[in-house]
Structures are given as structure tokens and as C-alpha cells.
């Protein structure tokens, strides 16, 4: 059942190559079907396996659906569905979006290390094609180079894992006792391999170019693709390697937070500013994951979901503004709804009460304090302080400066989606359980690897 999530988008992608005209509606179809499949089979009780070609797990490649991967896939597909609702926005990128959706779903669901490498490479390539929208070729090329290097390092790490444990299956690898020295090599290479996609500090040069380059890339790459990458960080460092190599992640993430915020502070281009802000938020999430406990991982993904929703709205509105107005002073006076949802999203980013960011940020700080970690909350609060600086500057500039040019026509679908998501953010503040339960289930599933191993290796259900 779950392999359909990958098969349908792939199939429709190839079909759409033949009929260019209807690629948009095919993409919409794929997104709808995926969402229906997911919503039909709600959270799986325990771990469900789908062995490809009926090869039993330690030997064949298998797809794993447990609480963690289900929540991740659900969020990723939700964002794809939202993008598919805006055909004018998607233009001729339906095919690569479908491919990206297939690769992302595969990347999350796969239980095999090499298979995850293949899906990661597909994701990088399709992300590059999407990043090249609006003649952003040079930044896309840079992203390709960096993605390529990261891919080969990821492959190297997988091979080291294979030589150390003799198997590529994640459950098998996490069960086997790996010698300390090779464990160091594996986890370091994985940190670098995933670091590029998870936007860790020295490796996130590409972010401002790709996200700042056009209006479609940040909306989809910033939310769902980075969610998939951060899921994999949790999966590898939580379940497979039981938190080994976490301090490196922790220090890199802290540097990322500060670097991202400070870089965003000086940025004059709105898309690039919030690109750096998403770098910083990714840093926050990675740092929380590296704490390793079930609760910290759950809160990390709760924060990531809030941040992803907020970023979706921000990039949607910012993309529309950048490509419709030359100078952005006082633009929101003409688009009240867009402005309202943008402001609500940015305030949720900072963590003002009345918005979802507050719930996640406060719970994270509380959890960290009960874990006796005093440095990370200080860094996070400092980062939020800098964030208040540039977010308020942008809001004030967009709302209150004297506007100059005439009014471009408002995108009806985009503004309704933005408004609905903004109201969702407020709803999450009032009743955080909407995201929190799913995120907590995900955290628990990622943290205890015994349940994952026992589920994968013992229960084998024939696939379709």
C-alpha cells in the first residue's frame, strides 16, 4: 500500500513528460491521491514493512512505515498538495515536482541505506531543476556541485557502514555492534553528507542563492525537502547510530543558529533574509535532535512543523511580492490579507504568544532546562532577539512606509491558502495537540531503536 506513495508520482511524472500541457493537473492528481492514501491509513500501530519483491528485510530493500515516517510523509505530502493547488505558480515544473515528491517519499520511507542515497541524489537533481526557475542557473549549478559532493560523501559513509556491518538494512546496521573507530568515520561522513541538505553551518552556502533566486524553490524546498532531510538526520542519529556523534551535530547546529540569524540581519533582499532564517531554524531543530531523548526529538519536529508552515506562508507572500513590485515599501497596504498572514507567520517565527511558534519555543526551552542544558536556551534566545530585529524591520517596512507604485492584482488562491495557514498557526497556539501528538509519536518512534529493529526483522508481510 505504501509503495504506491512513490509509484504514483513516478508514473505520472513519466506520463507528464509526454503531455506537457496537462503536467499541472497530473501533479495535482498525484498530490491528491497520495494525500488520500495517507489519510486513509492513519498512524500505523507498530511498524509496517513492505519488502520490495518479497525479499525478506535483511536481504532485500524494504519500505518501513512506523509512526515517525508516517508523520514525516504526511507533512511532506501536505505541502506538495498545497503547492499543487496553485497551478499558475507551478507553471511548467509539474514533472520535476512530481519526481521530487516521489524521491522525498522514498527517502523517508526506505529502510535501506543505499536506497536512501539513491533517493537523496534524485531529490538533489530535481531540486536543482526547480531551483533554476526564473533564470537562477548559476545558483542552481552551485547547488548541484555541493549536492554532488554531499552525495558522494553520503555514499562513502554507506559503504563504510556496509563493510563494518555486512548489511545495508538500517535495522540490521543499528543492531550490529560496530567498532568505535569505524563508527566515528561513519557518523562523521553522514553528518557531512546530510549536513548540506540539513543546511548545517559551513555547508549551507547554497541556501541563499537557491531560496533567494526564485519564488517556487523556497516554498517547496524550504518546507518539505528540508523536513525530509531533518527526518533522516533523526532516523540515522536517533535509531540507527543511537546518538553516537551527537556532540558534533550539537556544536555545528549552534554555530548554524547564530550564523544564520546574523547573516539574515544584514540581508536587504526579503527572500534571502528569510532563507537565512530557515537556516537558523534548521540549526535549532538539529541541535534539539542531537539531544537524543524521545521528548527532545518530538519537540524538535513539533517546532519544525510550525516553522515549516510559517515558512510556507512567508515564502509564498515574499515570492509574490519580489516578482510583482520593484520596491517593497508599504506594499501590504494594497494586499491586506497577504500582509496579515505574512505578519502572523513572521510573529509565529519569533514565538510571540497567540501564534504556534510560542508553544514550540517555550516547550523546547522548558525541556532543555529540565535536561540541565543552559547554553542552548541562551543561544536560542539570543537568536530570537536578532530575529525580532529583522522581522520587525521587515514588517514595519512592508506595512508602514509610503507606497509608490500602482497595485498588482492579488493572487486569490495564494492569499486564501496563506490566510488558512496563518489561522492554522493561531489554532495550534490554542490547541497545540494538532501537531504535538503526531510529533511526539514521531519522537518516540525515532528514539527507541529496539522497537524499530524488532518490527523490521521479525514481521514480514508480503508486498503487493
Amino acid at each position: 500500500m505504501i509503495s504506491l506513495l512513490i509509484a504514483i508520482p513516478l508514473l505520472l511524472a513519466f506520463v507528464s513528460v509526454m503531455w506537457k500541457r496537462i503536467s499541472k493537473s497530473l501533479f495535482f492528481l498525484a498530490a491528491i491521491v497520495n494525500l488520500i492514501i495517507l489519510l486513509a491509513s492513519w498512524f500505523p500501530n507498530g511498524v509496517e514493512i513492505h519488502a520490495m519483491g518479497n525479499w525478506k528485510p535483511p536481504f532485500g530493500i524494504n519500505l518501513v512505515l512506523d509512526n515517525a515516517s508516517f508523520y514525516a510523509v504526511l507533512v511532506v505530502n501536505a505541502f506538495f498538495f498545497l503547492v499543487s493547488l496553485m497551478p499558475k505558480f507551478v507553471e511548467s515544473y509539474g514533472t520535476s515536482l512530481m519526481l521530487l515528491m516521489a524521491a522525498a517519499n522514498g527517502f523517508i520511507l526506505t529502510g535501506d541505506l543505499f536506497n536512501s542515497f539513491v533517493f537523496m541524489e534524485i531529490m538533489t537533481i530535481t531540486a536543482v531543476t526547480i531551483a533554476s526557475k526564473r533564470d537562477n542557473f548559476y545558483n542552481a549549478f552551485k547547488y548541484l556541485i555541493l549536492g554532488g559532493i554531499a552525495g558522494s560523501i553520503y555514499l562513502l559513509a554507506t559503504i563504510f557502514a556496509y563493510t563494518a556491518t555486512g548489511s545495508l538494512n538500517m535495522a540490521h546496521v543499528s543492531m550490529a555492534a560496530i567498532s568505535a573507530s569505524s563508527l566515528i568515520a561513519i557518523t562523521t561522513l553522514y553528518t557531512i553528507g546530510l549536513g548540506v541538505e540539513a543546511k548545517l553551518f559551513p555547508l549551507n552556502g547554497w541556501v541563499s542563492g537557491v531560496y533567494g533566486g526564485n519564488d517556487l524553490a523556497p516554498v517547496i524546498l524550504g518546507t518539505s525537502v528540508s523536513f525530509a532531510a531533518l527526518y533522516m538526520v533523526g532516523r540515522l542519529f536517533g535509531t540507527v547510530f543511537h546518538g553516537n556523534g551527537a556532540e558534533v551535530l550539537y556544536t555545528l547546529a549552534l554555530i548554524t543558529i547564530v550564523a544564520g540569524e546574523v547573516a539574515a540581519l544584514r540581508q536587504q533582499n526579503i527572500l534571502k533574509a528569510f532563507a537565512y532564517s530557515s537556516v537558523a531554524q534548521a540549526g535549532v531543530v538539529v541541535a534539539m535532535i542531537s539531544k537524543g531523548t524521545a521528548k527532545s526529538m518530538g519537540l524538535a519536529y513539533f517546532h519544525l512543523t510550525n516553522d515549516a508552515v510559517a515558512k510556507f506562508v512567508i515564502f509564498l507572500v515574499a515570492g509574490f511580492l519580489v516578482y510583482n513590485y520593484k520596491n517593497l515599501n508599504g506594499v501590504f497596504k494594497k494586499h491586506k490579507i497577504l500582509g496579515a498572514s505574512f505578519s502572523m507567520a513572521t510573529f509565529s517565527l519569533i514565538g510571540f504568544p497567540l501564534f504556534a511558534g510560542f508553544q514550540s519555543k517555550l516547550r523546547m526551552i522548558m525541556a532543555l532546562f529540565s535536561m540541565k542544558d543552559f547554553l542552548f536556551p541562551a543561544v536560542m534566545l539570543l537568536a530570537t532577539l536578532i530575529e525580532v530585529g529583522y522581522v520587525v524591520r521587515w514588517n514595519v517596512r512592508l506595512w508602514f512606509e509610503e507606497e509608490t507604485q500602482e497595485k498588482a492584482e492579488t493572487p486569490v488562491v495564494a492569499s486564501t491558502i496563506a490566510l488558512i495557514l496563518a489561522i492554522l498557526l493561531v489554532a495550534v497556539f490554542l490547541k497545540p495537540e494538532i501537531f504535538l501528538n503526531g510529533a511526539m509519536k514521531m519522537g518516540n518512534a525515532l528514539a527507541d531503536s529496539k522497537d524499530y529493529i524488532q518490527g523490521v526483522l521479525s514481521v514480514v508481510k508480503g508486498g503487493m
Partner: protein, 114 residues
């Protein structure tokens, strides 16, 4: 010994990436790194005096020690395909960069805002 070759190749690739100004050379050094990693993968699967892992009449009985490990070879096949894919996308991007920025040399590319 084969490991040493692949590490040297990776070194060359990274050196190429760092020093070259022409973007196409970046692409080539990227593919060098890819091939180096593939060589490394094959090297891990090597068994002293092992034969190609194919059942033939001359090797009817199931002799584990005799075969070279087949799995890395399978992996390399996909890795090569992916390398080609990346190369293809990179090359097409370079064509468009040449059109837009009138040169693919990092120094004198016009219109690249920081």
C-alpha cells in the same frame, strides 16, 4: 593499494574543485570524485583470488570463498547511473549559464549579483 588510488583521485577532484575557475572543470572534477568513490566501492568487495560471482558449469558447487562479493558491484551500477544524471543536469545548466552570463568562467561572469 586500490584504496590509495581512490583516495588520491578524491584528492585530485577536490583540488580541481577548489582551484579551477572554469565551471565546466568543476563538473569534471565532480565526476572524478564520483568515479573515485565507485572504485572505492568495488575495492571493498574484492576477495583475494575470487572469481566473478556468476554461476557457471565450471563452478557448480556453492563455494563462498571463491566468489568476489557481488553486492558492491550492484551498488556501483546505480552509482554510475546517478553520476551520469548529475553530469547531464550540470551540463545543461552550464549551457544556460553561458547564455545568461555570457561566460562560464567564475571571474568574468557578468550579472552575478553577490
Amino acid at each position: 593499494m586500490v584504496y590509495a588510488i581512490s583516495i588520491i583521485l578524491i584528492g585530485i577532484g577536490i583540488y580541481g574543485l577548489m582551484t579551477q575557475k572554469n565551471l565546466f572543470k568543476h563538473l569534471i572534477s565532480l565526476s572524478i570524485i564520483d568515479t573515485a568513490v565507485n572504485i572505492f566501492i568495488i575495492a571493498t568487495g574484492y576477495v583475494e583470488g575470487g572469481k566473478a560471482p556468476i554461476y557457471t558449469k565450471s563452478l557448480p558447487n556453492f563455494a563462498i570463498g571463491k566468489f568476489v562479493d557481488p553486492l558492491p558491484q550492484a551498488l556501483v551500477l546505480t552509482a554510475i547511473v546517478i553520476g551520469v544524471g548529475t553530469l547531464a543536469v550540470g551540463a545543461s545548466l552550464l549551457v544556460r549559464i553561458r547564455e545568461k552570463h555570457s561566460s562560464i568562467d567564475v571571474e568574468n561572469m557578468k550579472g552575478v549579483e553577490e
